[in-house]
Amino acid sequence: MTALWIVISVALGVAALLGTVRLFLGPSILDRALSVDVLVASAMTGLGAYAAFNQDPTILPTLLVLALVGFTSSISISKFVARRPEEYVPPQSTTDETGTGARQSAPANGSDGSDGSGGSDGSNGSDAPEKEES
């Protein structure tokens, strides 16, 4: 029984460490938000395991608060990243007609907005995960 408790705690600790590694490595800011979500989930799992080990229900409100608040960070980061949600970055090279159609529409998008250059940047570097300047 004690060995299984040790296995549970070691698994949770290793999962949190791997999530932290992705938090440092992550090429884009959405990967970092995703790893923060995994860290919150592993923290909730660890709190639950702690409460089960001690048979102590005092930290159940903490679990409730984390379940209610944990998703707001990911949503706010995503809303921060999405400057223009109507802007569509075309795929790299599926067929010729979609590429030319999207390329024709790129100056049409840039004419009414100021940051039309962001779309062309994204379409150029969409095969490799781009570096964020965060």
Binding site: M1, V21, S28, A41, A51, L68, E87, Y88, E97
Partner: protein, 131 residues
């Protein structure tokens, strides 16, 4: 309750907790090894829903012989309900923003249905603009 019954309950709770912890570990390994934002989201959803629900079930089974308070079980049900309701919202918005801003790898997709829909919509808009 008899001691044997409490022992059986403890072993069931231990199995649930172990499964939840191993799912969290699998999610951590998948975060490191998977190449794409969408595949990482696929592996990150496992401890957020199934792993946490298993841990909550194990915690509830473990709390049964120690506590007779009904509100603890109610709190556990509420935690699971809020997690199941809120996690798909965050996943949907993150995946949408990741697609629209070009942060996913299109060469890893087997079929990109959204690109076909968007190209078709763009073609109709071009035709309307030309008229």
């Amino acid at each position: 309750m008899s001691d044997e019954f409490v022992q059986v309950l403890d072993w069931i709770a231990m199995l649930c907790l172990l499964a939840g912890a191993l799912l969290t570990l699998v999610a951590g390994i998948g975060l490191i090894r998977f190449p794409d934002l969408l595949s990482r989201m696929h592996t990150a959803a496992k401890p957020q829903v199934l792993g946490l629900l298993l841990v909550l079930v194990g915690l509830g089974i473990r709390l049964i012989p120690a506590e007779t308070n009904v509100f603890n079980i109610g709190t556990l049900v509420l935690v699971g309900l809020f997690q199941v309701v809120t996690i798909p919202v965050a996943g949907h918005i993150a995946a949408r923003v990741g697609y629209r801003s070009g942060r996913i790898r299109h060469d890893l997709l087997v079929k990109d249905a959204l690109a076909e829909r968007l190209a078709e919509k763009e073609r109709t808009q071009e035709a309307e603009r030309a008229e």
